[in-house]
Amino acid sequence: MKNRCFSSSLLLLVVLVCLLVQAAQAQTPGEHPNDIIVVANKKVSVNETSLKELKSIFLKKRTSWKKGGKVVPIHAKVGTEIRNVFITRVVGMDHIEEQTYWQEVMIKSAVSQPPSFSNPLKAVFKLRGAVSYVYRADYKPNVSKILLVIPHSK
């Protein structure tokens, strides 16, 4: 009887632990509405990217995905908070430095800066090879794929 009671208790404990783990997974600690979600068109050939690769893409030094296909970087509108945060954290520039960079690249190589949209998700959905970024709070699942999450930092 003691053995049976013990095994029943153990079973309950295991179930409880499983439930707790599931609950913990459902709400990852550190998840923040201002996390930057790097999203790409669903047909993009890769499923992940790195900060260095993103920098190359958004500076137009890299023009294709690693596994093939054209990259189309899409920015949020100039002057928006998310664009400034993204440029600072991924490209390592502020707004003025970014403008200087694109002026120079235009004169040297006749390459324009990436187009910008007020709704980058829509552009990512539409344009093959597109990659952009949104805050977690604005992220809508299913219309794009997530390549990277850049955690919010104060």
Partner: protein, 501 residues
């Protein structure tokens, strides 16, 4: 009797045992029932979870379809996105205003090439028409607008002083182009200028490792030649070896280029060029069947603090110049001589023809605000049909212009190094960038003729108060190899305001 007693004894003994066993059986049954129930519940849970998962998946699919439907329904907005992403045409460019003061010995031959008096000059006004028509298809037209030929000096008057006696050159006559025209309606005067097509090409870019340019493009050699815009290069004056076109600055033809990434911080670039090569009218047509061939290879490492770029370009081509004469076969009564196979003929004479091989290398190192760049060019010219020297060329070579002399095969080389440091003042004056720089340059334009060999030492300050404006102040000490002919050195003080837009 005995057996009856035995049964009684057994009953007496067994009764208490049987009661205990009954209790045990009841408990076991209850536990079994609980276990069964638990199993049932577990099974129900599993089924529920499966159902939940199925429902969740269906919900996700519906959401996805819904989002897609919503996005697709907004077809006008999606159309706009495509138009916005692949912009039809953008106009950019740069121009500069210079102020120059040259200092050199009075009466020096420098005055034939450089204005002695201080002067404002607009050197560059370049317009870019940039189009991205589709994902893989772009175009560029870069034009250079100039006031020239207005003000251009040609055919200088010349006097030879022979044994103290001045002899006027009968062919020499000082001419300065003046292109004034009068508007017949307003009677206002204008002067017309010129437009040079610097670049005009279609750019097909299917992969980062394979792209094609078709049209007129800047030769992909060195750093300065491709950067080329006064708003982005550090100094005011173009390196002398570039001015002397040791490698053609632009070519008309095809260029295949691409980039390979062994890692996120490193890349290799290549470019293969096939063009008309060098020629008196190469922008327009090739005067021989040999095409100019070039190969560019470069390597770049871009770290967080240090970046290095090392490249090289090799060029092989043939230069040909010709003259044409129409030959007409006539009879004595000046009618066409029909007895001839071809009474009207063209006689083509090659007036100059040489093969050339040129090799250029470049190096760029940046470390925090420090920048070091260097370029080296070597050129070998091998004449097949030597060019007849001009009277001026003969004189400079110490030969009488009455004697025909021909340009010899020769080599040339040039090198410059640039050291610059962007001052770490961003904490106080951001976004203004202040960069002092220093350039040293050595040039041997021809190993058989020293007149054009020019070395220089340059010091300057480049200030960028905004992304669109660059201000420069520069001092140049030019040291001709044959300083006796020039009567000394030349000093140039330049100020420049370069604007990009």
């Amino acid at each position: 009797m005995k057996s009856g007693l035995a049964i009684l004894a057994l009953l007496l003994f067994a009764f208490p045992m049987s009661a205990g066993a009954q209790e045990k059986d009841d408990t076991a049954e209850k536990m079994a029932a609980i276990e069964r129930r638990l199993k049932d519940v577990e099974q129900e849970n599993v089924q529920q979870t499966e159902e939940n998962n199925t429902l969740r998946s269906e919900l996700e699919q519906l959401k996805e379809q819904n989002e897609e439907i919503i996005l697709n329904q907004d077809s006008a907005a999606l159309e706009e996105i495509e138009q916005e992403a692949y912009r039809g045409l953008e106009i950019h460019g740069f121009f500069d205003l210079n102020f120059q003061k040259a200092v050199f010995p009075k009466d020096s031959i420098y005055a034939m090439y450089v204005p002695r008096n201080s002067t404002f000059v607009i050197s560059n006004l370049n317009l870019y028409f940039v189009g991205q028509m589709a994902e893989n298809l772009g175009m560029l037209v870069e034009t250079h607008l100039s006031f020239l030929p207005h003000g251009m000096e040609t055919d200088p008057d010349s006097i030879a002083v022979i044994n103290g006696v001045e002899e006027q050159n009968p062919d020499g006559e000082y001419k300065r182009e003046e292109t004034w025209i009068r508007d017949p309606i307003t009677t206002a005067f204008h002067n017309y200028g010129s437009i040079t097509i610097e670049r005009a090409y279609l750019n097909y870019t299917p992969r980062h490792w394979f792209n094609i340019i078709a049209g007129r493009f800047l030769t992909p050699y060195g750093i300065w030649n491709t950067d080329h815009g006064s708003s982005v290069v550090l100094g005011v004056r173009v390196p002398y070896m570039q001015l002397r076109e040791m490698i053609p600055s632009a070519q008309t033809g095809l260029q295949v280029y691409g980039r390979l990434f062994p890692s996120d911080s490193m890349y290799f670039d290549y470019a293969v060029t096939l063009s008309n090569g060098r020629g008196p009218v190469e922008e327009l047509m090739d005067l021989n069947e040999n095409k100019g061939l070039g190969l560019r290879l470069s390597f770049a490492y871009e770290g967080d603090v240090v970046s290095i770029k090392l490249g090289g370009y090799g060029y092989y081509g043939k230069y040909t110049d010709i003259s044409k004469t129409a030959v007409t076969y006539l009879n004595s009564d000046l009618t066409l001589d029909e007895t001839q196979d071809k009474p009207l003929r063209t006689r083509v004479t090659v007036t100059e023809d040489y093969d050339e091989l040129a090799i250029a290398t470049d190096f760029l190192l940046t470390f925090k605000g420090l920048r070091f760049q260097a370029e080296y060019v070597f050129r070998f010219v091998d004449y097949n049909t030597h060019k007849l020297e001009s009277a001026e060329g003969s004189l400079l070579k110490g030969v009488s212009p009455l004697v025909d002399i021909y340009a010899p095969s020769h080599t040339a080389n040039g090198v410059y190094g640039l050291l610059a440091w962007e001052l770490p003042l961003s904490k106080w004056i951001h976004p203004v960038r202040i960069t002092p720089y220093f350039i040293a340059e050595y040039n041997m334009t021809e190993d058989t003729f020293s007149f054009y060999n020019m070395n220089s030492i340059v010091g300057g300050l480049n200030v960028k108060p905004s992304p669109y404006v660059t201000l420069k102040a520069e001092y140049t000490l030019g040291l001709a190899e044959d300083r006796n002919l020039y009567g000394g050195s030349i000093q140039l003080i330049n100020f420049q305001m370069a604007v990009s837009f």
